[in-house]
Symmetry: C2
């Protein structure tokens, strides 16, 4: 395993328990290792994934749980008493029926899973909560990450809530909004003179130096990524324990898409939903579309790109789960597509105007790709469809600032109002 | 009644039904009128309040409802099928146990009701959803409001979601953040050359001119205000169907505080919680503290002030429910207090640091007053206490911008990191 076991006191005594998780399995060669702070296979360097031995579980068991992701604790690599510990309690965000948007797009049944309702207003609260729970059990003392924004907010907030130290590293040229909303939580905050790739590399080096630091998206990534399954669980439960026909998911590292699909599969295997086919679609911005590009060209590998898009939360040029996204999309009969920054902004405004949901740029990417895939016939307008809004427009205000026009001020009189109102 | 009945087609036919609501009663003289678009008593000009004939209701009935305010539809003036209509689905926000903050303040059991998780990130989504539901039944065609920010966001989003027109009016000098986050929803957006009082006066005049416009906080205010009861309902349910000993609530118009108390009373009368005493405390910023001032001086009336505080969402100099706040607070053995802007900022940072909750300035006011009332012995540190965070720090970033220090950037090397990290 590529990690030192001395970082993991629980593992030393041989009693590390993370709910129903049984070990880590390599996604490439199938080699299995015990639970611990490992993230790459010691046989082939492939990424590790959490495996489980699930108990019999009923819908009622889940419905009796708290109204957050811990209702699915039995399906996550976390201690079973996690709901009683100080976490940010993310999840169970609203799934709203989007008849207004559906009508504009000529669709029959469309839903929006709106993850901007999470504690720091992005889906990152889910994955960080699971990473923190697992990391604490493994004896880590510090929660850390490299980030361009949403993850920084989520890590700093979750650590403050749990009363442990955080170390968050971001590129120094980040927008002031995202810097303030991280620094306010009072952890160690490091701005780095470089781009996200530089920060990410530094984080990987530091993970090797500081044995008791859990970098959520580096050395505890297998646990972290499992958090995104809860998006799939919630969608199914909120639809009345049913799977949709189609789902459109934004693709950054690609883990969210892959884990939603895994969530659907687990629910089916557990008999919590009826088995049926579903199609998974991935959405990227054209300024950072390595997975979309690979899909279009029929490749099995993803060629890294240098990102240049306003959708900064999706701007990962070398997505770790890119090949797995291609697998899922091809297996289910879906697709990956991308849209321009202009279409992203236009789609953010369409979503706000038609549904009252102000999503971040990533939400605009998803709606834009939804339109594109409908237009070229790859998405069925008559099939029940769910789209993910993974973050909040409040954090990416600059994207719409130039296109939303604000009228000139009027004097506070009925006459001026009526003239304005015409 | 001060309102024209010809604005209300449903009322003309005599069949207006809003769930279990039975009529409107004057809070001053007790005069009762039928349900309709009325807000002031035709006998004494006192404010009207919704009355009900509640059915027998069990905890299980409520728990079987949706995970939003409509689980309490039977206790609100809304159609009973409201959950199946296109609303923003606000509410059921997290109630988190705040052990970290409690420890810092020497308290035993403290909870935060965090309403920043609502669709547009403030408690206004609750009141607007109820106002819109009632207004639609009364035949109004447009949802409107004067606002300084949070209400504007909530009205514009709720109207977009429901597919009806909105007219939102704000002072022209509002921060760009709040302007963009309203204008993006695509309703009619009016900026007014004047302060909030000017905008408010214009709204009252327009409510008389446009018969089919529902100004949520003017001509449908009795329904709107009922939405805040859901904060009280949720707190009790989330505590396991129990009432807290003490609650601290920010005071703008004062309606939120009064309605939380009403919510506790209704739950007790319905037998949904065991009867017990509770104390209600109000929190204001010293730059706009007319209710705190009246409380300190033992007055029954509230003398209007000209607001000057960074807590803009609480900056109502002539609070409509001020006298009722005094009633509730004195009846329950609570108090009203106020804190300076510097204490507001310090308390916002304390809340973020100790709990991972980044509240807006109003949240800072509430935490600041909590500290103050503990320090002077008016609040019992050993009694179970709930505080309300009514909005989101993302919308009031300027308040913390000057006090949160961001370190200088480092080069992306382990050496520079270790030197920085020291």
């Amino acid at each position: 395993m590529i990690a030192r076991t001395d970082a993991c006191p629980a593992d030393e005594t041989g009693v590390l328990r993370l709910g129903n998780a049984t070990g880590l399995t390599c996604r490439e060669c199938g080699n299995t290792v015990p639970l611990g702070p490992f993230y790459a296979c010691d046989q082939c360097f492939g990424p590790l994934e959490v495996g489980y031995d699930f108990p019999r579980l009923t819908r009622a068991d889940i419905e009796a749980g708290p109204k957050n992701i811990w209702r699915y604790a039995a399906l996550l690599p976390v201690p079973q008493d996690i709901a009683s510990r100080p976490t940010t309690e993310p999840g169970y965000t609203r799934l709203i029926r989007a008849d207004g948007l559906a009508a504009e797009l000529g669709m029959r049944r469309l839903w929006i899973k709106d993850d901007s309702g999470n504690p720091t207003h992005s889906f990152k609260d889910r994955v960080v909560a699971v990473a923190l729970a697992a990391a604490t059990e493994m004896g880590f003392k510090v929660l850390a990450c490299p980030s361009t924004g949403n993850l920084a907010n989520a890590v700093a907030a979750a650590a403050a809530r749990a009363g442990i130290r955080s170390v968050v590293m971001v590129p120094a040229n980040l927008e002031e909004q995202k810097i303030l909303t991280t620094a306010v939580y009072g952890g160690t905050f490091v701005t780095v003179d470089g781009n996200y790739d530089d920060v990410n590399r530094l984080a990987s080096e530091l993970a090797g130096e500081h044995e008791d630091w859990a970098f959520v998206n580096v050395n505890v990534r297998p646990y972290y990524a499992e958090g995104s399954k809860t998006l799939g669980f919630e969608i199914a439960e909120q639809l009345g324990w049913r799977l949709p026909d189609q789902i459109v998911v934004p693709v950054a590292s690609g883990a969210q898409l892959v884990k939603i699909d895994k969530g659907f599969t687990e629910l089916t295997e557990l008999g919590l939903v009826d088995g049926k086919p579903w199609k998974v679609f991935g959405a990227q911005a054209s300024g950072c579309a390595p997975v979309s590009d690979a899909f279009a060209k029929g490749w099995d590998v993803v060629r890294p790109v240098k990102p240049d898009t306003i959708a900064k939360s999706l701007a990962i040029g070398n997505p770790a789960d890119g090949p797995y996204v291609l697998d899922v999309v091809r297996r289910t009969g879906g697709a990956v597509a991308d849209v321009s920054d202009a279409e992203v902004v236009d789609s953010m405004r369409l979503l706000a105007r038609s549904q009252g949901v102000f999503g971040e740029t990533a939400g605009g990417v998803t709606v834009g790709v939804l339109r594109k895939l409908l237009a070229d016939g790859q998405l069925d307008p008559d099939a029940e469809t769910v789209i993910i809004n993974s973050g909040d427009g409040l954090k990416t205000l600059d994207a719409v600032a130039s296109s939303v026009t604000v009228p000139a001020a009027i004097k506070p009189t009925i006459e001026e109002f009526e003239q304005f109102h015409g």
